[in-house]
């Protein structure tokens, strides 16, 4: 068939599977298919689709002030700085949302800090992969360059973390529920639905988040996994906080890393503060070089700009990045 013939093929006709049929025949068959519900049935279908999901996670606390950090990525210097900062600011408990390894140097150094600091940790996709002996970090990149660096990063951590540490990771819970004042917070790694679901500010719209909080029956949702921190107060008054990560800077040209402070407010509310954290980043960069980690990773620590794995960024976040 020529291009011209293809252009004119459908006059008065419709494609039904692989056949051409009179348009009216297609329309009639389509109109007869499916089901049209009554108004009551539609309301019931909507209720069923947004019903609360069962969850038996015990509730911890109540606290009046907690610190919550995301991916540590082997940054033991960042973690030490966080523990100091959180104590100085009066946090009663410190939580970590997973992704302890990858990217940075010397995985084993993070473990004693977590234990000594009584950091209440959940599993990220890194822990899930390491504990189950997976070959990769389950990040699912498609760009060959991103895949290369993800493999370097995961392989290094998999080789240098002890079997005991990995077994400990595998015993961490997948989620926690925490009371801060009168609010119940749900802590997850990616999203309540999937450990590796990305919640970026520009692709986590308000209607989606309201429904997510409804279905998971919580007053606030805390997550990480994207590497970028953000906070959205929903029209319902509830909060969604991506606490960011303390493992590498937030792709903004500064070397600070980020965590979140959550505070009970008199009257039952919740105050959310995203906190930039300075740490000895030149020392981390030097250690990464000694360990033979890629110069691309070191550059991120020293400049604050991501150099790899940028494909996960949605259009809006990507437009703000250097690479």
């Amino acid at each position: 068939m020529t291009e011209r013939e293809r252009m004119a093929l459908h006059r008065g006709l419709a494609t039904w599977g692989e056949r051409l049929v009179p348009l009216a025949d297609f329309r009639r068959a389509a109109a007869a298919a499916g089901r049209d519900l009554s108004p009551e049935e539609r309301a019931a279908a909507l209720r069923a689709a947004t019903a609360v999901l069962p969850d038996t996670t015990p509730v911890e606390g109540p606290w009046s002030r907690i610190a919550v950090c995301g991916g540590i990525y082997n940054n033991h210097l960042g973690l030490a700085a966080l523990l100091d900062d959180a104590a100085r600011r009066g946090a009663e408990a410190v939580y970590c949302l997973g992704d302890l390894g990858g990217f940075g140097p010397s995985p084993e150094k993070v473990w004693p800090l977590l234990l000594q600091g009584d950091v209440r940790t959940i599993q990220g996709n890194y822990e899930e992969s390491l504990a189950s002996g997976r070959e990769d970090c389950n990040c699912g990149y498609t760009d060959p360059r991103d895949n290369h660096f993800a493999a370097v990063s995961y392989g290094y951590t998999a080789r240098h973390a002890s079997a005991d540490f990995k077994a400990w990771m595998g015993r961490l819970p997948m989620r926690r529920r925490v009371r801060v004042g009168e609010r119940e917070l749900l802590l997850v790694h990616g999203s309540p639905r999937r450990i590796n679901e990305f919640l970026f500010a520009s692709t986590a719209p308000v209607p989606f988040l309201e429904t997510l909080l409804d279905r998971n029956a919580c007053d606030a949702l805390l997550c990480t996994h994207t590497g970028l921190h953000w906070h959205r107060r929903l029209p319902s008054g509830r909060d969604v906080v991506n606490v960011g990560v303390i493992g590498r800077p937030a792709n903004d040209g500064t070397t600070a890393v980020w965590y979140a402070l959550l505070d009970a407010r008199p009257g039952g509310g919740l105050a959310v503060e995203l906190v930039p954290l300075a740490y000895d980043h030149p020392a981390l960069a030097a250690e990464m070089r000694r360990e033979g980690l890629p110069e691309e990773f070191v550059e991120t620590i020293l400049t604050g700009w991501w150099t790899t794995c940028l494909e996960i960024l949605p259009a809006r976040e990507r437009a703000l990045s250097r690479y």
Binding site: R6, A8, G17, A33, L37, D214, L310
Partner: protein
């Protein structure tokens, strides 16, 4: 996109059913099946004369958006045909970007510098992402034009250049009709093409082809064993199929997914609420989705 090679659908009840776990992705057949091209591999058989599905009005899109926001929709995709043939397309995007991130699948022919600037302004004015996906089927006119039409390579690239000049970074979509596209070297060639026109952070998506339409004539249509059967549900369920988290709205009603809009049996009802039930994977295209893990999303 292209016609699906299929005989009559098999007896209902023999295929496994997929539940909708959440309405994450709402698709709009916003230009219907009307396109300014008639590509040989179009699996919806779009063309200037194909009115199987007609264009959607802003009012119709807003009705479905309202329904979808109550269901917690996460993202909205627009396809056709060619979305920018719809005279209300920019107003539709503006309305959508107030509630959710949006992606437009376009053939790139109607992206003038003026339109590109208006789209960039829409993107800058929203807290949600706006993505444009431009289809191309080769590195040069010689490989692309036999599939997409005479002269299209240059016109598509002009559209991409206009987007880049306005500060937008589109995702280039290539089907593996272009044989080498999925290899690392093939991807690198597309990246180089994009860098050559000033996009220093190029983005690419490679889609597998369905054994359908012209592709079916060339490579052979589906055979009878290429069907999903009851009891074949994989251990971790059907979450990898996009129909477990999407629905498609056209002017003819709500359909299960963007692939089966040429199958009347894939119409599920008039409103999204009608279409929240399970869908039986009765179509050979479902076999492709399952085996190759196809997703039309970026």
């Amino acid at each position: 996109m292209n016609t699906l090679a299929t005989e009559q659908l098999p007896t209902p009840g023999t295929a496994p059913g997929v539940e909708l776990r959440a309405l994450d992705t709402l698709w709009f057949q916003v230009a219907g099946t009307v396109c300014n091209l008639a590509c040989t591999h179009c699996f919806v058989s779009c063309s200037p004369t194909n009115h199987t599905h007609e264009m959607l009005s802003l009012a119709a899109v807003e009705r479905s958006l309202a329904e979808a926001t109550a269901l917690g929709v996460r993202e909205v995709y627009f396809t056709g045909g060619e979305p920018f043939l719809n005279p209300e397309m920019e107003a539709i995007l503006a309305a959508t970007l107030k509630v959710a991130p949006a992606t437009v699948l376009t053939n790139g022919l109607l992206l003038s510098p003026e339109r590109a600037a208006r789209l960039a302004a829409l993107a800058a004015g929203s807290e949600y992402s706006l993505d444009l996906r431009v289809s191309l089927d080769g590195w040069d006119a010689e490989s692309n034009d036999p599939i997409r039409g005479a002269g299209t390579f240059d016109r598509i690239l002009a559209g991409v250049r206009n987007l880049a000049a306005a500060g937008l970074n589109p995702v280039l979509t290539v089907t593996d009709v272009c044989r080498e596209a999925s290899s690392d070297a093939g991807k690198e060639r597309f990246f180089a093409l994009l860098r050559g026109i000033g996009i220093d952070r190029p983005r690419l998506k490679v889609l597998p082809v369905f054994q359908i339409g012209a592709e079916a004539e060339r490579a052979g249509a589906y055979e009878s064993w290429q069907r999903l059967r009851a009891g074949e549900t994989p251990e971790d369920g059907w979450d990898h199929l996009q129909c477990s988290a999407c629905r498609m709205v056209t002017d003819q009603g709500v359909w299960v997914c963007p692939i089966l809009v040429n199958e009347p049996a894939a119409r599920m009802g008039s409103t999204l609420a009608d279409a929240l039930g399970p869908f039986a994977l009765d179509h050979p295209a479902c076999w492709t989705c399952h085996v190759y893990g196809v997703s039309c999303k970026t």
